[in-house]
Symmetry: C2
Subunit: 243 residues, 2 copies
Amino acid sequence: MTYELYYWPGVQGRGEFVRLTLEDAGADYVDVARLPDGPHGGTQALLKMLEAPPHGHPSLAPPFLKAGRDLIGQTANILLYLAPKLGLAPRGEAARLWAHQLQLTLIDLMAEVHDTHHPIAGSLYYEDQRDEALRRSRYLRRERLPKYLGYFERTLADNASGRQRVLVGNAVSYADLSLFQVIEGLRYAFPRAQRRLEKRLPACVALHDRMAARPRLAAYLASDRRVPFNNDGIFRHYPELDA
Amino acid sequence: MTYELYYWPGVQGRGEFVRLTLEDAGADYVDVARLPDGPHGGTQALLKMLEAPPHGHPSLAPPFLKAGRDLIGQTANILLYLAPKLGLAPRGEAARLWAHQLQLTLIDLMAEVHDTHHPIAGSLYYEDQRDEALRRSRYLRRERLPKYLGYFERTLADNASGRQRVLVGNAVSYADLSLFQVIEGLRYAFPRAQRRLEKRLPACVALHDRMAARPRLAAYLASDRRVPFNNDGIFRHYPELDA
């Protein structure tokens, strides 16, 4: 079966968590909105599946995944469904819930990062909420990033069963790929703050580097399937927000 | 087995979604932080389990649920685990993922509601971010609430299998209890805006009323186990934010 991923074509955003899992597993998938425009590709195809999916279960927003007749939305939910099928989830209910909990926590962090540049409304330009953005990003850098990243650092350190030093159990899971992505994004968005923070995050940095070296992931990151970071996405680089 | 719920004692917050499911099912549980202070109760017991749980899997923040040796955090993840055991989840993988997707969408809405009164930082007082709160709440009322609530209204209307008019399948699930809670919260926080919105939400209002009439839920809502809404929680009533 060919999985169909539906996400905005010009950004990494939340969809990137799903792309990384599909790519690292070498799964057969199409990134629908990045195909040429037409009945089965492009943004029009995404909007059609968002508004009126043939078998129900519409999402409030992308990403969503079509797998045969199943349509699954909400990023963490997609991974909950997908990763076990691709060999990137831990075994057993307790470990699966734990990986899902970590993924949900990373998604919470993404929402906070988004709101550093859009603290008032997603429908307004950054420039129209820049004062508030300056104020909010200071708290993200000083309070929230240390809290979140310190949590993941401790989680890695506490996982004694992981000789490979992964987040859950003793094998790489989608949660590790997601933590890699968050570190990449923070390095792009807040390079100065992140450089300082990473001095106290050796386990996170080591995990990041091991993920980047995985052959399929490395090939993906070097390909044009990887949308570059840019200032339309969730992780945006405005130097004034990293000052 | 007695479930142990850990959540801040003075507010409904995200923990209320878990409380409603436990209460509606008549489950055996303790609300640990609301017990008298001591080694096994009160806020101290919550903080201890947050920082150093005996069998690992700490959460970044409450709520979390202890079930025997299992410790599960992230509200939607707790319900994913708990509701099937209490007869409040649909049967089958596709329906369970759909209910979880709806729950995650309600949690997203909660985060946006929280940020109407704390658009800059959770660590600052409301009064120190009131100007930004006025601006952000306007967008929530005009753009986000119609979008979210319209989505749930359509979801109810589209569920032809539900003679009972529930969100998923043909029996009440935790997602219905959660939608009830969000409507209650919005009525408390934004009574003027919500009154206008509800004119176009007949299915949501009908679901809300049916949930409120369920005997165990009604008994809970009338009891002192239900923390009243207040201005320390996520749904807060500041008249200026509803103007």
